[in-house]
């Protein structure tokens, strides 16, 4: 049996969240009435000229910095080809002198994928194929909307370092989190503000060369990305094992059929005739600008995960804890965890409460005042509230806001005075001498029994940990 290895590289086109287009002042907006955000420049009317958007450059630099790229002086090139959604029948892009090169991205499990380049280019208009079910092949004619033409894009190209569909998904997810963290993009695959194409080939394990690769397009979600790559890997292996060859082609993922399909391709490869864009001048962001960008950038997801991980000591976070850390970071709630631990809350408690309860209502949790959240967790930690009560207070805090202490009081979750708790524990101990002598003799698991009794006696107001502490104190 031949051992096969998949070799995968991803190209991600990310729309930037600028107010206006890359080369003109038309609004960069999704969903407006067709052809209302157009001007001589983005329509490519005779005589029009491009002028570069400073915010697009800023975002491109943020992305480059976040991906640990080197930011270089760059130029724009024209990529010449005809297509109805191309107002000038050339695209202004970057070719052999792009703004960002040689970076990398670390997946949550530590695996590194190199980023070859991340460059600026303009988006095309949108072509709708009419008649024949929306597919190109059967269409009768097409309609073009140029609202999207000229929207700024950063194209991020990875090295072919990825080896599985799962890794590809992890890369895309991590990249999306990074793009969102930089503020440069909202990373919505379903809306098209983040578009992923996969280059897939296979080779026998140990083979130093590369097999023929196919480009897979039309991946509208992480799930599609994973499924399409898995399908393509199997398709290519099957071909090669049958003695056939893999044809270099562009393939389209068909979600309904669960297959990649070859597109009707032209015989000639595209000759883009790249040459430097004469209507634009070179871009050379100085060191001061680069430093400002770096300074303004907050920590990236990997760094944020690491900061929470270090709360638990040297051991790398694994399993459930790693999942919790990933969840709170992805949901933008790691700040809450850190605020709590800074104030003295136990890391395990802070992480669990945030990953389980707060993350369930992440949008509201992100708006939560850290002070209120911390106060609540401290109440739980001090034994003033049970975990059940804490969850209830949190739910109301998220829904209505307010102060945890007030909410607790309103709900009747009164803090049980430590004196009165001691009193209740003493009463229960006295009422259960057999269990007490076993516990005092070392049967720690009987603590649960006593907790249950104390809860009954206090109608659930007691804090389990406080009870255990009291039991131990009594035991001596």
């Amino acid at each position: 049996m031949t051992e096969w290895e998949a070799v995968i590289g991803l190209e991600v086109h990310c729309e930037l969240r600028t107010a206006t287009k890359l080369f003109c002042g038309c609004r960069n907006a999704f969903g407006d009435e067709p052809n209302t955000n157009v001007c001589p420049v983005c329509l490519g009317l005779p005589g029009s000229l491009p002028v570069l958007n400073a915010a697009a450059v800023e975002y491109a630099m943020r992305i480059g910095t976040a991906l640990l790229c080197e930011i270089r002086p760059s130029v724009f090139h024209r990529k010449n080809y005809f297509y109805p959604d191309m107002p000038k029948d050339y695209q202004i892009s970057q070719y052999d002198e792009p703004i960002n090169v040689d970076g990398w991205l670390e997946l949550p499990d530590g695996f590194r994928v190199r980023v070859v380049r991340a460059h600026l280019e303009e988006d095309t208009g949108k072509t709708s194929h009419m008649g024949g079910g929306g597919r190109i092949h059967d269409a009768a004619h097409a309609l073009v909307d140029y609202n999207r033409a000229g929207v700024p894009l950063v194209e991020i190209v990875s090295a072919p370092d990825i080896r599985s569909a799962a890794q590809a998904r992890a890369y895309a997810a991590e990249l999306r989190a990074i793009l969102v963290a930089t503020g440069a993009s909202d990373g919505r695959m379903e809306e098209g503000s983040m578009r992923v194409d996969a280059n897939v080939s296979v080779r026998r394990v140990g083979d130093p060369g590369f097999g023929t690769r196919c480009e897979v397009k039309n991946l509208n979600s992480l799930r599609s990305l994973g499924r399409a790559i898995e399908y393509e890997i199997e398709r290519q292996i099957a071909l090669l094992e049958a003695g056939d060859t893999v044809l270099q082609q562009t393939r389209h993922w068909d979600e309904g059929k669960g297959q990649t399909v070859a597109l009707r391709s032209k015989e000639e490869a595209f000759d883009y005739r790249y040459f430097p864009e004469p209507d634009l001048v070179p871009l050379a962001p100085d060191a001061a600008w680069q430093q400002r960008v770096a300074a303004a950038l907050g920590p990236m997801p990997a760094e944020r995960r690491r900061r929470i991980g270090t709360l638990f000591g040297d051991g790398a976070a694994e399993g459930a804890r790693a999942d919790q850390i990933a969840t709170v970071t992805e949901q933008g709630l790691d700040g809450l965890v850190l605020a709590a631990t800074d104030a003295g809350v136990d890391p395990g408690l802070a992480l669990a409460r945030t990953a389980n309860e707060a993350a369930a209502d992440a949008e509201r949790a992100r708006e939560l005042s850290p002070d209120a959240y911390v106060a609540l967790l401290k109440m739980e930690q001090a034994g003033a509230l049970s975990s059940t009560q804490t969850k209830a207070v949190l739910a109301e805090l998220l829904a209505e806001g307010g102060e945890p202490a007030d909410i607790a009081k309103r709900k009747g979750f009164e803090a049980l005075e430590s004196d009165s708790l001691a009193g209740v524990v003493a009463e229960v101990v006295a009422a259960c001498p057999d269990e007490w002598s076993r516990y005092a003799g070392g049967e720690d698991k009987l603590a649960q029994f006593f907790i249950g009794q104390v809860m009954k006696a206090t109608q659930g107001k007691a804090n389990g940990k406080a009870v255990v502490e009291e039991l131990r104190r009594l035991r001596g």
Binding site: P34, N35, C39, V144
Partner: protein, 102 residues
């Protein structure tokens, strides 16, 4: 550099396809000849020793020309579509597109 070989009729046909020009057989022959003559003349350039010379894309020493990310008025859609050869549903209408966008 490559020897600047004489432009053939096949070259002319390839170039015409790239440039979306539909030339007749006669035109292809005529253009191939004319272009070959011009290219031979231009080949003087190809023969120059330019080792170490940096190409000039621009006669100007400008760099970092940027504009602020502020909206400016767009064109009136009616005026835009009035110039269009064919319009449907507020969009530009074209005959069927055979290939995918590269």
């Amino acid at each position: 550099m490559d020897d600047a070989r004489r432009l053939t009729r096949e070259d002319a046909a390839y170039v015409a396809r790239l440039a979306r020009l539909e030339l007749t057989e006669e035109e292809l022959d005529t253009y191939a000849d004319q272009l070959a003559a011009v290219l031979e003349h231009a080949a003087q350039v190809a023969a120059l020793d330019t080792g170490g010379v940096v190409p000039t894309a621009h006669p100007l020493p400008l760099e970092n020309v940027l504009r602020p990310d502020e909206p400016r008025p767009s064109l009136d859609r009616d005026e835009v579509l009035a110039a269009a050869p064919a319009v449907e549903d507020r969009r530009f209408r074209v005959p069927r597109v055979l290939g995918e966008s590269p």
